[in-house]
Amino acid sequence: MGWITTFSTWILPLFILLILLIATKKKLPTYELFVEGGKDGINMAFSILPFLLGMFVAITILRSSGALDAFIGLIKPALMFVGIPPEIVPLGIIRPISGTAALSLTAELTQNYGPDSFIGRLAATMQGSTDTTLYVLTVYFGAVGITRMRYALKVGLLTDLVGIIASIVLTKLIFGY
């Protein structure tokens, strides 16, 4: 357990150490390069802003109106029928749409059902095994001004579906439910 925490606090400083050691050994102007590269970051952040804001507002309207919860309630019976536990349905649907909402749902499920219950383990697996598709596409395409995503969203969402199914099957198999 301890080694993972140590690992995650050490890896970034060690990586920086490695970069600076190699660059200094090669007599590169490290500080000048750092400043030059860093400049790009400012423009990128501003370029992302309108994309992110637009997506955030639309998602929040959908969630705060209660429409998303109603939709989840509507399809729950069908999903239960194919063996998907009803408690996990909201997380499965929100995971690709909103990262912060998914994280708080995972925390909530972990708290309510216990981290070592079936739902607790399943939520952790689902949360950990995929990324927030809509956020990633918005930020990455936004940063470089791509407005036509073509089939990127289709690929991302279908992959998320595979992720949900894989999480359920694997959690059942490995923990023996």
Binding site: F34, I146, Y151
Partner: protein, 196 residues
């Protein structure tokens, strides 16, 4: 497609609020979410400037090139449209590696730099094949150590917080394979559609 999804999310929300009596919540959410997006974009500036600065040094020092050489056979298969030794490849690999170790704060800036390098290859507002493949891999999120999830499990007193590492790893391996397959499939479907 994204235009429809975006508009439909907002439309459904507003229309549903009319009948559900949640217009107050929607009205409030409009402004708080816009604010949140601005805050998030601004908080990105710090990691973006720091990591793009660091990665510039890494690039000049030849570290990205070394990474590129190591994984060349895989990269050539996954990204057939990227020219050999293109700087985008080094950034793509660095992003995927950072993601694997759960280093989101470093992964995003590096990934955005990869997008910028790929954008240089085709100056247009349309996503290129390489960009889509990259994002498919990126969103499928191959993770070795899901640090945030482990932290949550520790917080709520799990007897063994790391026991989900195995299932997470296997599930994300499934999604990564699925991402590559879907990416290929839709690329070819898209191509035949364009020819018609």
């Amino acid at each position: 497609m994204v235009n429809y999804i975006w508009a439909v999310m907002a439309l459904i929300g507003i229309i549903y609020a009319m009948f559900n009596g949640t217009m107050d919540e929607v009205n409030e959410a409009l402004f708080t979410s816009a604010q949140e997006a601005v805050q998030l974009s601004f908080s990105l500036i710090s990691v973006l400037v720091f990591w793009l600065g660091m990665m510039k040094i890494a690039e000049e020092a030849g570290i990205l090139k070394a990474l590129n050489k190591l994984f060349r056979p895989i990269v050539e298969r996954l990204f057939p449209e990227l020219p050999k030794d293109h700087p985008a490849i080094g950034y793509i690999l660095a992003n995927l590696t950072a993601n694997m170790f759960g280093l989101g704060s470093a992964a995003t800036p590096i990934g955005l730099k990869a997008m910028e390098e790929m954008k240089k290859l085709n100056q247009s507002n349309v996503a290129s094949r390489s960009m889509i493949t990259f994002l498919a891999l990126n969103t499928s999120g191959l993770t070795l150590i899901p640090t945030t999830v482990i932290a949550i499990r520790m917080q709520y007193g799990s007897a063994n917080p790391t026991e989900i590492v195995g299932t997470t790893l296997l599930a994300s391996a499934c999604t990564t394979v699925a991402a590559i397959l879907f990416d290929r499939l839709f690329y070819h479907l898209d191509k035949t559609k364009l020819h018609k």
